[in-house]
């Protein structure tokens, strides 16, 4: 079927297409459009505490906004329409950036997942948008045929397909919602607005969730090390966790290699230095024991930090799958070798100490 853009003021001629499409993806056609809800651009204390919990990863699936059309300010039939994910952090970032702008927000169902991740999974995608446009009766609420999507939803959405299936024109707004007021003046984004940056602050915000991921394994490792080699070793385990979950995310852009694994190895080696010095200066151990202890500390710290560093690739916004896969094949065997050697040395050290005591 030939579907030309019929211009923004005319009825799209792709209605039949949409019907067929909706039948094809088997959506419940009996569910009717919801009421238009009201929202504001104010972020309340309750919103803030919700954001805090969401960042900590508490109740991962509970930070959900009801899908549907929201009215911000006093919009009319010519007001802009913004599309948002139904994750509270995404929705709140959008509405708080739109202070003083009369508009509609169409919240689609991304299962409570943020724009970028939902686009990657395809839930913030062409099918969901076309469906929500129809379901919400958007074409009766506004006269124009334009919707503004966050740029980061583009991996999941095909703009020309949305237009073909719904008659609505997709416009990609800037990456960050806070650039929207500037963007709206001309409806063009500067190259800077189009670029993803992984800033110091954004990296810092990720650290609590990184920490909660590894609390349990760290405590177990610390306990085992405490029994094997005393409080000093247990402390090192906690330090490794802190290095991998907080220091690495914050500092990695300043480590001069490209690969995350090598960045991790370097950072791990650096944090080992004070411990190595302490051990080397300690007098209660024999010389060979000291050498083995320093080696063990280095091997374990560097390999575990490198592993945590490699795993951080999923949280960044610039690593390609091809590259990450290459890193895995290149460095994981090395990390495993280092870790196993380190563990063996540690056990040898623990046994000799035990023998001495006896």
């Amino acid at each position: 079927m030939d579907n030309k853009d019929t211009g923004s003021c005319c009825q799209p001629d792709s209605k039949a297409d949409t019907d067929q499409f909706i039948r094809m993806i088997d959506l419940n056609r009996n569910s009717h459009a919801p009421v238009i809800r009201e929202t504001t651009s104010t972020i309340s204390f309750r919103d803030r505490s919700d954001h805090f919990l969401a960042r900590l990863g508490v109740n991962r699936m509970g930070h959900i906004v009801e899908p549907g059309i929201y009215r911000l300010g006093n919009p009319d039939a010519d007001s802009p329409v913004f599309v948002s994910a139904n994750y509270t952090l995404s929705f709140d970032a959008l509405r708080s950036s739109l202070a003083g702008i009369d508009c509609y927000i169409l919240v689609i169902d991304t299962k409570g997942i943020n724009v970028w991740c939902a686009a990657g999974k395809g839930t913030f995608g062409t099918a969901e948008i076309v469906y929500r446009i129809r379901w919400s009766g958007l074409s009766d609420i506004i006269k124009h045929r334009n919707i503004i999507l966050p740029q980061l939803s583009a991996p999941g959405v095909s703009a020309h397909e949305v237009r073909r299936l719904s008659g609505f024109n997709v416009e990609y707004g800037p990456v960050r919602a806070r650039d929207l007021p500037e963007y709206l003046k001309t409806h063009t984004a500067t190259p800077e607005m189009r670029r993803v940056r992984f800033t110091f602050r954004e990296r810092l915000v990720l650290t609590p969730i990184e920490l909660t991921h590894i609390v349990l394994p760290t405590l177990i490792a610390a306990l085992i090390l405490y029994l094997l080699a005393g409080p000093f070793a247990a402390f090192i385990a906690i330090l490794i966790a802190f290095t991998g979950a907080v220091l690495f995310p914050v500092l990695y852009p300043f480590i001069p290699t490209q690969d995350f694994s090598t960045k991790g190895l370097i950072l791990g080696a650096i944090v080992t230095i004070p411990f190595a010095a302490t051990i080397a200066a300690g007098s209660e151990l024999l010389l060979w024991e000291r050498i083995v202890a320093v080696l063990t500390t280095f091997l374990l710290t560097a390999s575990v930090t490198a592993y945590l560093a490699l795993n951080f690739t999923g949280c960044t916004t610039h690593t390609s799958r091809t590259g990450v896969k290459k890193e895995i094949f290149r460095y994981v065997p090395l990390m495993a070798l280092m870790a196993v050697t380190g563990m063996l040395l540690l056990i040898i050290l623990g046994i000799t100490r035990l023998m001495e005591v006896i």
Partner: protein
């Protein structure tokens, strides 16, 4: 030192391009820039294989095997004997 990120699966066929500039708008890493008759592949090694450009190119002038570059999910998939490319994951990143 090795750089695992200097190669990727991004393919661009300039002869197909109709210069709609969509790819320059959706790419979060400035990989494409507007040129004369067609866009230019300016910084191919910055591509993170998100797939946005290929999804939004109306004439399939761009191809890329998109996927999430997440070591954790890929290692887990590999350990379970699954295809590493099937892995998908995401941290709680709230880039938007």
């Amino acid at each position: 030192m090795f750089d695992s990120y200097n190669e990727n699966t991004l393919q661009y066929y300039p002869e197909k391009c109709i210069n709609c500039l969509m790819c320059t708008q959706v790419c979060p890493h400035g990989v494409f820039t507007g040129g004369g008759e067609h866009v230019e592949l300016k910084r191919p090694s910055s591509c993170m294989e998100c797939g946005a450009c290929a999804m939004n190119c109306p004439v399939q002038a761009i191809e890329v095997q998109s996927g999430v570059g997440c070591a954790w999910a890929m290692i887990r998939a590999a350990l379970r004997g699954k295809d590493m490319d099937s892995a998908d994951c995401c941290c709680n990143g709230d880039s938007c």
